[in-house]
Structures are given as structure tokens and as C-alpha cells.
């Protein structure tokens, strides 16, 4: 039986790893190669690496670092950050990544999703949708990008449907409001998107415990349960400690 995936989400900045809160206030948490070695030993289901500076700085993906990470990894990898054309996606796949994620570039030009699917195959195309509650009392969900600094008048459910039709193989639903807060997933948001599309999906933002992972997988299995803080911090003082757990 196909199982739910429990996926650590690691944020790259320069050559280091950071962890944010609500996409802000990045705190250094260590060396990516070291983290990959630890996750290898823990036999992690899948690992996602997102470079939070690659698009904003205009520098694009850090290929040298990505090569070193892929050479070390014995688990499936997804990379996102600064990918804005199909050729770059193909280059990353050739380094040994199973999936490439786009976010801001797909909002700017949705056709990119189709071009990537034609170049590397649908199964390797991921669209990460950063979602923020907007409006009076946070009454509606809206898509954002560029580390939540740019708002889009786009509904996440409609955008997920559009990306799936264009050829995305997976949607990653990333809650800006829940990021780093460790207060549980936004299950309401996950439900809205899960019922609207048939491609695989991963939810990230808010997981604080195995119970949070379990609540998601119990309801929507097989699904990807992503987490950042849960796998890089320990205790209420947020001491850095890489760990891994499954429901």
C-alpha cells in the first residue's frame, strides 16, 4: 500500500540552513550536508530543500551546493528556489533530484509549469503555493510569493487546479501564517485543496508533534506531511537538534 510521506523541509540561505517564523526572522540551524547525512541514517521518506534567497537575490540556484547535497543523499530529493525556466529544472534533475519546485515564477508565468512538464516529465514538477490568510479576520486565503513579501490576488484552490491542469505532478501547500509557529497544520486549507485536485500533495507549516502529522495523514492519506521546526528544533527554547519521526 502507498504510504503517506513524512518530509523534512530544509531552508537554504547561502551555504547554510535556516529556519523561519512566518517566512521571516531566519535563524541559522546548521550545515546542509551534515543534515543530509543525519537524515540518511534516519531513512527519511523524502527531503525538500528550498533556497529562500535564490529568487529574491536574483542569483538563482546554488548548483555547486546542490550537487554536493545530491551526491550525499540516499533519499528522494525535491529542490525549489530561483528556478524560472525548464532548462534549469532539467539541470537540477540531472544532478540527482527527483523533483523541482517552482513558486513565484509559476505565478508570474503559469505556462512555465507546462514547459517543465514537457522537459522533465510531470512526475518531477512541483508547484509550491505559499498561502496567507487575508481580509477581515483572515476570512480568505490568498497566494503570496517572494518570502511572503509579494501578495497576489490569486485563490490557492484555483491556482492549484490551474497548475495541475498545466502539468504539475504535485502541489506543496505552504502556510505562511503557520510557518515556524508549531501550532498544528491548517487542515481546513489542506481539505479545500485536496478535494479540488487529484495529483499528490504535501502540506507544510505548523507541525509541532507526531500527533499533528498523524491528524493530517489519518484524514488525507496518502499525503505528504512536511515539517521544518519539528525536525530541526528540540524543546521550548528551540535548541537546534536534527531529528525525524513518523506517525
Amino acid at each position: 500500500m502507498l504510504r503517506s510521506r513524512v518530509v523534512p523541509f530544509l531552508l537554504l540561505r547561502g551555504n547554510g540552513l535556516v529556519k523561519t517564523k512566518k517566512f521571516d526572522d531566519p535563524k541559522y540551524v546548521g550545515d546542509p550536508i551534515n543534515a543530509v547525512k543525519i537524515f540518511n541514517e534516519k531513512e527519511v521518506d523524502e527531503l525538500t530543500l528550498l533556497d529562500i534567497e535564490a529568487t529574491a537575490s536574483g542569483q538563482g540556484p546554488n548548483f555547486a551546493l546542490l550537487r554536493d547535497i545530491a551526491a550525499e543523499s540516499r533519499m528522494p530529493l525535491c529542490y525549489g528556489g530561483g528556478v524560472d525556466n525548464a532548462e534549469t529544472a532539467a539541470r537540477i534533475i540531472a544532478l540527482g533530484y527527483e523533483k523541482v519546485s517552482v513558486s513565484h515564477a509559476a505565478l508570474e508565468r503559469p505556462e512555465l509549469v507546462r514547459e517543465m512538464a514537457e522537459r522533465v516529465g510531470r512526475q518531477s514538477v512541483v508547484v509550491t503555493i505559499d498561502v496567507k490568510k487575508e481580509g477581515l479576520f483572515g476570512s480568505s486565503y490568498r497566494v503570496s510569493s517572494l518570502n511572503a513579501k509579494q501578495k497576489h490576488k490569486v485563490d490557492p484552490v484555483a491556482f492549484a487546479i490551474q497548475c495541475a491542469e498545466l502539468g504539475a505532478g504535485e502541489i506543496v501547500l505552504n502556510s505562511v501564517d503557520r510557518d515556524g509557529m508549531m501550532q498544528g497544520y491548517d487542515l481546513e486549507l489542506a481539505r479545500k485543496v485536496r478535494t479540488a485536485i487529484t495529483i499528490p500533495m504535501t502540506v507544510v507549516g505548523g507541525a509541532a508533534s507526531v500527533d499533528d502529522l498523524q491528524a493530517l495523514t489519518d484524514e488525507m492519506a496518502p499525503i505528504g506531511a512536511g515539517a521544518g521546526s519539528l525536525f530541526v528544533f528540540k524543546g521550548k527554547y528551540r535548541a537546534v537538534l536534527i531529528s525525524y519521526m513518523r506517525p
Binding site: 502507498l2 521518506d45 533519499m75
Partner: protein, 209 residues
Amino acid sequence: MVMLCVIDYGSGNVAAIANICNRERIPYMITEDLHRFEEATHFLLPGVGAFDPTITKLKESGILSALETEVLTKGKPIMGICVGMHLLANGSDEGLQAGLGWIPGHVRRIDASKLTKPPHLPHMGWNSITGNAQDPLLQGIDMNHGFYFLHSYYYDASDPNDVVSTSSYGGDLPCIVRKGHIVGAQFHPEKSHSNGIRLIKNFVGVSGC
């Protein structure tokens, strides 16, 4: 003496396989140089992307004709991985080109209509496998834990005797096929932790673990 040749034709993750060989002390080489194929005892044929461009690369690089000598004439074992497995079939719904036809069968799209709830395609993640635990390829494999899959097309083998293992996703899909010394694996052993390492070791006949 084993010498595993990982064929590097710009399709597939050769670095991860090299990493496993280093760790497990399996003698290996990563090459696209046909003249070195003679030194090899076993071949790994990775593959990612679509069927047609992948087989075109294999043909145009001259690798295919060199492999025919090594595998078909000399009888050296080969294992195709993911799209590298699909190339072993007669053809694919995903493309127009003919496959190698080394293990009779056709690559078809997974029938998502048999899946009762989302997700449908691609088949993404860790799935258990079934098969005869005594089979030399499956020895020591935790079949319940299984392997990492990422695909929308599967190998519909013509002869059920060529199917070593299946995984269930909208039906029983062959995930390891074998005819004599020619093997195909649908999942990614290089990304499947200890099970993947074990399968590669079983393939090259290195005991231990």
C-alpha cells in the same frame, strides 16, 4: 571480481549510485566511454524523463550497440532503473520509438480510474512490494517497507514468469521484471535507503549485510 558499470548518458542519478557503491565497497565505474564497457561485469542503466528522448540518447551515443555486445552476446547482467527499465520493453504508450525488447512487454499509463480517492497520478512515494522472498533479488529485502516510486507509466510484462515483484496501485503493477540476466526495477533503489542498497547488492551478487 565484480565491476559494476553505471552508464552515464546524461539521464539519471549516477552520483547517488556512486555514493552507495563507495559506502558498500562495491567496485564500480561511472562512464559513457564504450571502450571501458569490456572491463565491466554488471551494468546499471538509470533513466529519468520521457521514453523517447531517453532511448534516442542511448542509441545516438552508440551505447546501445555496445551494450548489445556486452549483454546479449557476452551475457553480462544489466539492471534498468525507472525509465531505464522501461527501455527494456518493446515500446511505450509514452512515446513513439521502439524499445529494446529485451524483456517482452509494453509500457502503459497507470489506470487511475481504479483509484477510489486522490492522489491518482503520478504514483509518488513509498509502496510495499510482493514477491517470493526466496528469490535471489529479494533476499533480505523488507517487502512491507518497500521502495520509493515516482512514475505514471508501468511495465506491462507479456510473460507473467518475467515478473519478480509487484506493487499495488490501481492494480498490481510489475515493479521488478527479469528475463535471465536482464533486470528492470520501476522504483528508485538509489533513493530507497537500506532496501535499495540491498537490491543493488543482490543484483551484483555481493553477499553480506
